[in-house]
Symmetry: C2
Subunit: 333 residues, 2 copies
DNA sequence: TCCGCATGTGCAAGCGCTTACGACAATTCC
DNA sequence: GGAATTGTCGTAAGCGCTTGCACATGCGGA
């Protein structure tokens, strides 16, 4: 089914069919109806590839995330998708599993798709990508990685602040043995969080003991990390997780061992994903406004585009502690 | 950046460039290198739209789900995406929020993209879609909805069996007051599950009392449903949820009220999503093999395609009960 | 009656790529 | 030594659509 067949059927030219299908130009009502009827009869579906090839412009946005199974990323996607949908845009998503090579492939794929804008919400990075994207002339927003450039806006969360806040909160509750559970410590943004933990801990030097464990970004990974942690003989009174997703597993492992939360061990997460409210006990965490991030991304990519590409800037977000039930005073002993 | 510019730069024709980029035909090693270098220098990214327009064939699959926030759907997507990736396919996903109109729009969009195959994993339906897809000549797999046709394969889970099994299991534990928590009872497949519950209950007529509550497909929805349920004065000793996602909220609400699980109330889910193992208590549920469903979908869409489109058939899956900690003997009183 | 101006359509030139097909060299064979 | 191969590459015709432009009508006003 092509435009031409529809045109023939309706007894008009392809130009006219195109016009009615795009509500562009003026078309007599009677011919418009004829065309629409022909479309229906022939079950015509315009070829989107041909359309964007000829049109030259695109109404699709691209989004790349590290791990779409982690609700943190998924929520941002949903938020972006939702506002995009309202504005008649669509967004295609790709995920990288935290692997730089897949990131590169994903970016290339997006560039090949000629997306109208690209949101890169990942933790891994490949240096050459920055210039590649910067040279691409499409609006880009990075989250957590990269740095601003002509057409690149950066959104960053002050993770250190959140981490610092958490540590201090726990310290004030009397905790003196803490552990950090993370994943992919080799990746910059993730490493940064680990370091924020270590730095803050360093300030209580001599007074506080701590250790770290690393696994994969999933509840199972969190559980495994907790397992290692406890098997090592270190008995933390508080475990800080790099994100809520892993915290789910940490909680599970602790309960499995008969440890009460927060009676014996306090647990904190990061991100404040939807289900962190539904864990038991409900998770103390640090909120990151995912909905707003998605909305900002859309604005930057679509609106910012009109503002002559001068979107070189950095946006900083201060996360805030959300205290729920998984934290409490350190046990006496 | 177009093929032509690259060709000019490399001092060859566009045909040659195309050949090296596609590893098609034979090209002298020296020219191949020249071309690749030109691509790199010019940061050339082939226009995928032009490619599929000219090529006529597509290596992207489409997938439509009702609610991508529900891990059940997300898992199937990830599974499909994973095998597709291994075979050098990509998959674009769209979600409908259980709305038939969005389903129609999504299907049209996929058809416009000229996907190589389409997986429709939804609960809502629009009758006309079946024939529209059937006429489209692309391989299609439906999950839960629709019926087989020339190019349409149907995957169905015998929900009734799972539900029946669950009810009987609870009955055997002494439960005589049960409740069902669901969502979108107006949609066929969902209604079917509700009816499976009612039918099974009907068999114990007079002996067992029951009621139902409906909300939205989310933990929050589950919580709300549980709230209604308990506010109604009915005191179930077991609550059966249409899926694990909602069960999360049900559990939360029960705990909030100080009810012990399974001491006071048993809870069951459906789907066996990843985190149902990490709830507390771990959720008794009915397993649906999402990984296998994703893999089957790929095979049907890609391999089945070669088998002359004679894929008209229905695949039935028997779900199985997974007993964990959220169920136990009914309380004495 | 003729001109000017809306209002509706058709023509045709691309958009960037793939892919027969044929052209031309460099071998190879009898 | 000429013909038949073989290996490389260029030419050009689309793929299905959008869109600037020209053209055809119908109308009122001069």
């Amino acid at each position: 089914m092509t435009l031409e067949e529809v045109a023939r059927r309706a007894g008009v030219s392809t130009a006219t069919v195109s016009r009615v299908l795009n509500n562009a130009g003026v078309v007599k009502e009677s011919t418009r109806r004829k065309v629409l009827e022909a479309c229906r009869e022939l079950r015509y579906h315009p070829n989107l590839h041909a359309r964007s090839l000829a049109g030259g412009k695109s109404r699709t946005l691209g989004m790349i995330v590290s791990n779409i199974q982690n609700p943190f990323f998924l929520d941002i996607f949903c938020s972006l998708e939702s506002v995009a949908f309202q504005h008649n845009y669509e967004v295609v998503v790709e995920h990288t599993d935290y692997r730089p090579t897949r990131l590169v492939a994903a970016v290339r794929s997006m560039l090949g798709r000629r997306v109208a804008g690209l949101a890169v919400i990942v933790s891994e990075m490949e240096p050459s990508l920055i210039e590649e994207l910067s040279a691409s002339n499409i609006p880009v927003v990075f989250y957590d990685v990269g740095h601003p450039a002509r057409n690149i806006t950066n959104i960053k969360v002050r993770y250190e602040k959140g981490m610092q806040r958490t540590v201090e909160y726990l310290y004030s509750l009397g905790h003196r043995r803490m552990a950090f559970v993370g994943h992919h410590a080799g990746l910059d943004p993730l490493h940064e969080r680990l370091r924020a933990f270590l730095d803050t801990m360093g300030r209580y030097c001599g007074e506080v003991r701590y250790t770290t464990a690393v696994s994969t970004d999933s509840p199972g990974g969190g559980r495994q990390a907790a397992h290692q942690l406890l098997a090592s003989g270190f008995e933390p009174t508080a475990i800080l997780c790099v994100n809520d997703f892993m915290a789910l597993g940490v909680i599970r492992e602790l309960r499995e061992r008969g440890l009460s939360i927060p009676g014996d061990v306090s647990v904190t997460g990061f991100d404040n994903i939807g289900i962190s409210e539904f864990t038991c006990p409900a998770l103390t965490t640090v909120n990151i406004p995912r909905r707003r991030i998605g909305e900002m991304a859309f604005e930057i990519l679509v609106q910012g585009q009109s503002s002559a590409m001068n979107s070189e800037r950095e946006i900083l977000i201060d996360p805030e502690l959300v205290v729920r039930e998984s934290t409490g005073p350190a046990p006496e002993n």
